[in-house]
Symmetry: C2
Subunit: 350 residues, 2 copies
Amino acid sequence: MFENSQENRTNLSELGEFGLIDHLTANFKPKLKSTIKAIGDDAAVLDFDNKHTVVSTDLLVEGVHFDLAYMPLKHLGYKAVMVNLSDIYAMNATATQITVSIAVSNRFPVEALEELYSGIELAAKIYNVDVVGGDTTSSTSGLLISVTALGMAEADDIVYRNGAQPNDLLVVTGDLGAAYMGLQVLEREKEVFKANPNAQPDLDQYTYLIERQLKPEARKDIPPLLKELEVKPTSMIDISDGLSSEIIHLCKNSKVGANLFEEKIPLDPALISVCEEFEIDSTMVTLSGGEDYELLFTISQNDYDKIKGNPNLTVIGHITEESEGMHLITRANQKLPLIARGWNSMNKED
Amino acid sequence: MFENSQENRTNLSELGEFGLIDHLTANFKPKLKSTIKAIGDDAAVLDFDNKHTVVSTDLLVEGVHFDLAYMPLKHLGYKAVMVNLSDIYAMNATATQITVSIAVSNRFPVEALEELYSGIELAAKIYNVDVVGGDTTSSTSGLLISVTALGMAEADDIVYRNGAQPNDLLVVTGDLGAAYMGLQVLEREKEVFKANPNAQPDLDQYTYLIERQLKPEARKDIPPLLKELEVKPTSMIDISDGLSSEIIHLCKNSKVGANLFEEKIPLDPALISVCEEFEIDSTMVTLSGGEDYELLFTISQNDYDKIKGNPNLTVIGHITEESEGMHLITRANQKLPLIARGWNSMNKED
């Protein structure tokens, strides 16, 4: 779907700052009724009528959040948009506009930025958001992308992180852990390539995992699905950092505890098989891996019948009193405290 | 007013990402009615009733937009906010909320970021905006700040860049060129300091210029002033890149030409004297210097009596038909084409 051709090279300096912005955003035409004025003035102008506006922002830094050795620029542009839209959907809102700013060193030719913006454009098209502003500047090293997303919702529909109640059910969309294991596969291939640049890797069996890493999709479908099912979550958050720390965020904000059942965590078969290959525990991958961009939410037990059997939604646990703490109940029925830890700290312990 | 103490050093890693955000934003309490939910969820939630929302974003990169050798971090935080608010005021709107994201290398201790955020906090307080979100991440080198500002206005009050008409008057707020010459003074002092670290510079005579560079103020006062004077500009832009390129922006967007009168450009006496000292032409400084964050706008001639004699506003020229082009009329009555050029290209010609 994505191809990355860098055969032509135009130096950034040939266009200049204003020329570059005009050039990269020439295809970005506003489509939404709420976008009164998009790119081209001091600020964009938006009209949300009586609805509430939601706004979220994220920075992606080369060498920290992505590695251009295996992340094609078009995918990077797409993913940068997804990361932000995911936050808007996690408010149970509709994403409407984004601004995209980049800082970029001279080592990138104009064609590379065109690739980046083609990914942004594709994401904006598929997710029906307008690109309404941004800033393009030089950096002393590397590439940095800052995206701010705006959305809207009826005041009554917005779901915060702080509404979970004891006995609520803990629900997750999709399946977890695949994006992290996709990254592990890509990092292994990078090492193989370094050792032997002529090696032809066969990555077919890892397609799903790699796609979850390189081209994640935000859950635009979930807010309308919940509306259709007549379910309003009591709290919601998106899963960017791993299930464990997101459950902790929800619980701390809602002043409750939780029990998470290991056997309920939804896993794709491809994840299970790659975890066996890498000799890594799949539960740990879902708890600490991150970048799944699925949604985690809580609902009243009374709503259980409305979501039961929906293939997008899995009940993975329930909310408890705050004093009971936050635990993982293992398949062996052990009760382990949930700890928020990224892979960096985990790896130290390995 | 600002002091920068870096005697205590706490490593960023001691707080962790979540701890750092909580720590830096602990004082940021929302004050505006339109801020329903600020920091602490997937997104901020804003309520603008029936007004239009305006949104603008800017990136500031160390080594490109600022040099920490003479820019104290508190000033940098303040200025990063000003740069964005200026865009909101240039829409004739009221600034209401900002998000602030930073990418920062490990060489900065927590105390340095506290300084940065104290400047952001001060700006938010003085300009009456709420800080409603942001992202804090590590960078592989240097410091980068991304600010997105939101504002609101009645639909009828918003002023775009594209409404200037032939015979309109070209008006500027405040005085121009001081920020650029403040930078020249600071750069000269940096060289003196490198040669002799014990030199005690006497910068008293440059206070105004240096303050314009290090602590610019966005023209929050101008939209309400225009309302009070019952003047709605036909077009407006903020002066971030020098008068020349901003006039060209207005003219190109409005499909008109302009005559700018050299003798009318407002100059502070301190600017005139420093330009003599540096043997640099003050008109060129105002045309190409930038970072003044004053507002440039056009009004109908019928409104002239309403602004006449106002000390904040100076008529510097008038709009013509597009076919007449854009010109500077010099004191010697020469007619020179206006060219958008930054100091980089100018210096090459010196």
